[in-house]
């Protein structure tokens, strides 16, 4: 198993993995996905991590560094799209993904790392708490926007 930052050549495999994230997610063409990927790659504050098994992305998350003007100008790191292929769960892969994201946050001298998890996903909550996240200190809000 290889644990590394993802690159453009991993995109098809990553998108395949994302189908497990939300089966109802709106389909995108490879062309549009590649456009989005290029925007991601141009931004040094976004980093995609993956566990890659024989060329296949089987676990992933991404981290975004956000500059900040409080806390001595130490930034915030936001983690999104944490996912592991259903055939590869219970092997500690997501744990390694989170470790890589946290290392990135430390490299950028962030003062905190944040992520959100669905209210009902208690097993995921236990996992994040085992990784050192506090699941009770904040209440997250999100607002969904129309197209």
């Amino acid at each position: 198993m290889e644990f590394r930052r993802l690159t453009a050549s991993d995109l098809p495999s990553l998108l395949e993995l994302y189908r497990q994230l939300d089966a109802d997610d709106a389909e995108s063409t490879m062309e549009h996905s590649m456009e989005a990927w290029k925007e991601i790659e141009r931004n040094p504050d976004i980093r995609y991590f993956g566990a890659v098994d024989s060329g296949r992305v089987v676990s992933s998350c991404y981290a975004v560094y956000i500059p900040n003007l409080t806390r001595g100008n130490r930034g915030i790191c936001f983690i999104e799209n944490v996912i592991t292929d259903k055939e590869y769960r219970k092997q500690g892969l997501a744990s390694r993904m989170i470790d890589m994201a946290v290392s990135f946050a430390k490299e950028r001298h962030c003062y905190k790392v944040i992520l959100q998890s669905g209210m009902s996903r208690t097993e995921a909550h236990r996992f994040y708490e085992s990784k050192g996240f506090n699941g009770t200190s904040k209440k997250a809000f999100d607002m969904r926007l129309e197209d």
Partner: protein
């Protein structure tokens, strides 16, 4: 041995680990092959600055077997650099795993793999199909000499 190994791209906070594997392995293995001046030269060659820069550009990998980090390799373009397995973990196939990994990665994008071969490892590279393409002699600070081969593996050459 080699129960459950993985290759991990090193992050900034792995710097000390990479530095330690590099320095410890050179100090333990090279004195049997090179004079003192050459050993110091190798230690300085893998400077903190070069390790940091390579980590920042995502070129450095760690070989981790069941949570223990046993070795490291740096992949720069088509070159394999800084390939070391800690002395206490040698002769268990880790070096081969690092080479397999690096060669595969390089050959997916390049036609050849290039490596600066030290004496201790030259025989291994010959057996894997590498050929010497250049021979270098460096005179070190204290007057000791250091020799190494540039070796190249061609796609389909193994």
């Amino acid at each position: 041995m080699m129960d459950n190994y993985s290759m991990i791209q090193a992050a900034a906070d792995d710097f000390e680990t990479v530095r330690q594997i590099t320095q410890e392995t050179i100090r333990a293995v090279y004195p049997a092959y090179y004079p003192a001046g050459a050993v110091d030269f190798f230690c300085r060659h893998h400077s903190d600055e070069s390790i940091s820069a390579d980590i920042a550009s995502g070129k450095v990998y760690l070989l981790c077997d069941d949570e223990t980090i046993v070795g490291t390799v740096t992949i720069s373009g088509n070159g394999i650099n800084r390939l070391f397995v800690l002395p206490q973990h040698q002769h268990r196939g880790y070096g081969r795993a690092l080479l397999d990994f690096a060669e595969q990665k390089i050959l997916s994008q390049h036609d050849t793999v290039r490596i600066d071969a030290s004496f201790p490892a030259k025989q291994i590279y010959l057996k894997r199909g590498y050929r010497e393409t250049e021979y270098h002699v460096v005179r070190t600070e204290n007057g000791d000499y250091l020799c190494y081969d540039v070796m190249v593996l061609s796609k389909g050459g193994k």
